[in-house]
């Protein structure tokens, strides 16, 4: 569709795919983008996928796409869809993805750029050595079967109970690091097997740990409240639920393909397989999905603990003295039951965020007390050569996007095209000349994840800021990058 599609312009940052585009669309598609980003978005099949999501039974208002949208499978990456369970609304494992609760957390430090600059190589090599990464990597944090069940229910709390963090970390994690209603009985033995021994591991592909420095500040009221300043060193950790999440998605996609006939659901792509939220299949998936989400929060908590330990060893002081406090942890592949006002009525909706970040505004239920006045921190990682951002959620996001905004830069070049056109040695030299040191486990990872393979996150964030669905707080640039 993409090139041929006549999108209707709503305003400078929103475009509509009308319901008339495809017979069967229950709502229109709405894409958040400017003219520049739209050019790339039209290049692949992402817009077709936005239209396909609009077929989901019970979908409310619109099938939404954020400016980092790109071609995924089933849902586009950067897609948001809310369904109303009381109106037959469905839940789709494809609307969450295989890497359930893939997400990102950001830490502040008391360190300045000059403190880190002289020890950057040592720091990056120590992080790479001590944090297990890569495909099938196993962690040093070993768990018994009973403990694995505990992780699925308690999430990051499990890690804190083991001494890998503090209550304050939990307060600064979406859902406090554990969704209620996780039921390990709905998780298959195979999923347990795949998740075993992977706690405290980064994973592969686009997952990373970055040492960053703040290079631009935007809103003094908010960055002061977050105790952030120019030249301050920060950290970002991007990881998910590893093999456990992949298996849960596969198990339930398989079972929901069989639900399509049972519930007379008509969708144009079977990767959107779904079941009513209020069906047995829907409830079971949600319980299992929460287990994977909790596992991912425990994982990121463990990764943060390992990171703090490395910093303690390099800088010979405690992480508390280094000021390594968690700013926030957000999920960007998840489905949640949340309350929204729809046409004057309060409704509990099932919000799918597939490559999209929650962006709750000030005063909302579910955000930490200390952020009640400013809105929840929204963490947007970019690529390894450009920038990442910290934003906060807004009231407008609650009104327009089911409290959601973008999740990253979004790919623009396929992995194979990146491998074909980018030379690893040249890229590493370029990055080094910018003061960026990169270490990666996987062969080809550095090239596949090259800045040229991504949209410019500055363009993406400018759109969500100008559209009002999140507000910029500060921008970081990378110093050291550990890739899976």
């Amino acid at each position: 569709m993409s090139n041929a599609c006549q999108l209707e312009k709503i305003d400078d940052f929103r475009w509509r795919i009308p319901r008339s585009y495809k017979s069967g669309m229950r709502v229109p598609g709405i894409i958040y983008a400017d003219e520049k980003l739209l050019k790339d978005i039209r290049e692949d099949k992402a817009l077709e996928q936005v239209a396909n999501v609009a077929f989901l039974p019970g979908i409310v208002n619109a099938s939404l796409a954020m400016p980092d949208i790109h071609w995924g499978y089933g849902f586009p990456i950067g897609g948001v869809a809310a369904t109303d369970p009381e109106a037959g609304g469905v839940i789709s494992p494809g609307g969450v993805g295989f890497d359930i609760n893939c997400g990102v957390r950001m830490l502040r430090t008391n360190l300045e750029y000059e403190d880190v600059k002289v020890r950057l190589k040592e720091l990056v090599y120590a992080l790479f050595s001590d944090i297990p990464s890569g495909v099938g990597s196993k962690g040093d944090i070993s768990v018994s079967v009973k403990e694995e069940e505990e992780i699925l229910v308690k999430g990051a709390q499990w890690a804190v109970n083991k001494g890998f963090g503090t209550q304050d970390d939990l307060d600064c994690t979406e859902e406090n690091g554990a969704m209620h209603g996780a039921d390990p009985r709905e998780v298959s033995d195979r999923a347990y097997q795949r998740g075993k021994a992977q706690s405290g591991t980064l994973g592969s592909g686009n997952h990373f740990l970055e040492v960053q420095v703040i290079d631009q500040l935007y809103d003094s009221k908010i960055y002061d409240a977050l105790n952030l300043s120019l030249g301050q060193v920060t950290l970002m950790i991007h990881s998910g639920s590893r093999g456990l999440g992949y298996q849960i998605c596969e198990d339930y996609t398989r079972s929901m393909v069989n639900c399509l006939n049972k519930y007379n659901i008509n969708i144009p792509d079977r990767q959107l397989a779904c079941a009513p939220v209020n069906s047995e299949e829907g409830r079971k998936y949600l319980s299992a999905m929460k287990c994977a989400a909790n596992y991912a929060w425990a994982n990121r908590q463990c990764l943060m603990h390992l990171t703090r330990t490395v910093f303690e060893s390099i800088f010979k002081t405690s992480w508390q003295k280094l000021g390594m406090f968690l700013i926030y942890d957000v999920a960007h592949n998840i489905a949640k039951i949340e309350k929204y006002n729809i046409n004057g009525q309060e409704k509990k909706l099932c919000v799918h965020r597939k490559g999209a970040t929650r962006s709750f505004g000030p005063g909302q239920h579910g955000i930490p007390d200390k952020y009640k006045n400013i809105g929840q921190p929204v963490i947007i990682p970019g690529d390894m050569g450009r920038n990442s951002y910290l934003l906060v959620g807004t009231e407008k996001a609650m009104e327009e996007t089911f409290g959601s905004c973008c999740h990253g830069a979004g790919r623009v070049k396929s992995r194979t095209a990146a491998l074909r056109t980018i030379n690893q040695d040249t890229l590493l030299k370029e990055l080094e000349s910018q003061g960026i040191i990169v270490k990666a486990s996987g062969r080809g990872t550095i090239v596949e994840e090259a800045p040229q393979a991504y949209k410019d996150v500055n363009d993406v964030v400018r759109v969500v800021h100008n559209a009002g669905i999140a507000k910029r707080v500060c921008r970081m640039r990378p110093l050291g990058v550990i890739k899976g």
């Binding site: 992949y246 298996q247 079977r270 990767q271 396929s414």
Partner: protein
């Protein structure tokens, strides 16, 4: 040996186009392509061969194809094995029996992690020279 698959461009993930002289060969080649794509043998740290029988059922050939690929990926991840030989004993529209042989993950350098095979854009067609399938893999 010429590859039985080629890469299809996909922005975020990887697509493959696989060929086979028969439907059995298509399933076999598609299965092996997952591991040719994701890994390269570099060491012989562990010489033990691992044989794993696989049985799958589905409503139709397309579902069977996806279930089969996902079962291979899932077993590979759960058991830490890379498959290098696949023998499909029985294949019908809705069922499959195969014996898969592999060796420990320790012997391989991994290029990319394939999380799963997806239904998105899935095509399985019989043509003049045999069978062809296109499938998008989540990586």
């Amino acid at each position: 040996m010429p590859k039985n698959y080629e890469i299809i461009e996909h922005t975020a993930d990887i697509g493959i186009r696989v060929k086979g002289g028969s439907l059995k060969a298509l399933f076999q080649n598609a299965g092996l392509s997952l591991f040719e794509l994701s890994s390269r043998k570099q060491f012989t740290k562990n010489k033990k061969h691992i044989n794993i029988p696989i049985k799958q059922k589905a409503n139709n050939t397309e579902d069977l194809f996806i279930n089969w690929l996902n079962e291979l990926l899932s077993l590979s991840s759960a058991r830490g094995v890379i498959f290098h030989n696949i023998k499909i004993d029985k294949l019908q529209d809705n069922s499959l029996e195969a014996l898969c042989t592999g060796s420990s993950l320790e012997n391989y350098k991994i290029n990319i992690e394939i999380k799963a095979a997806t239904y998105h854009g899935l095509k399985i067609e019989e043509g003049k020279g045999g069978w062809q399938a296109e499938v998008i893999l989540d990586v």
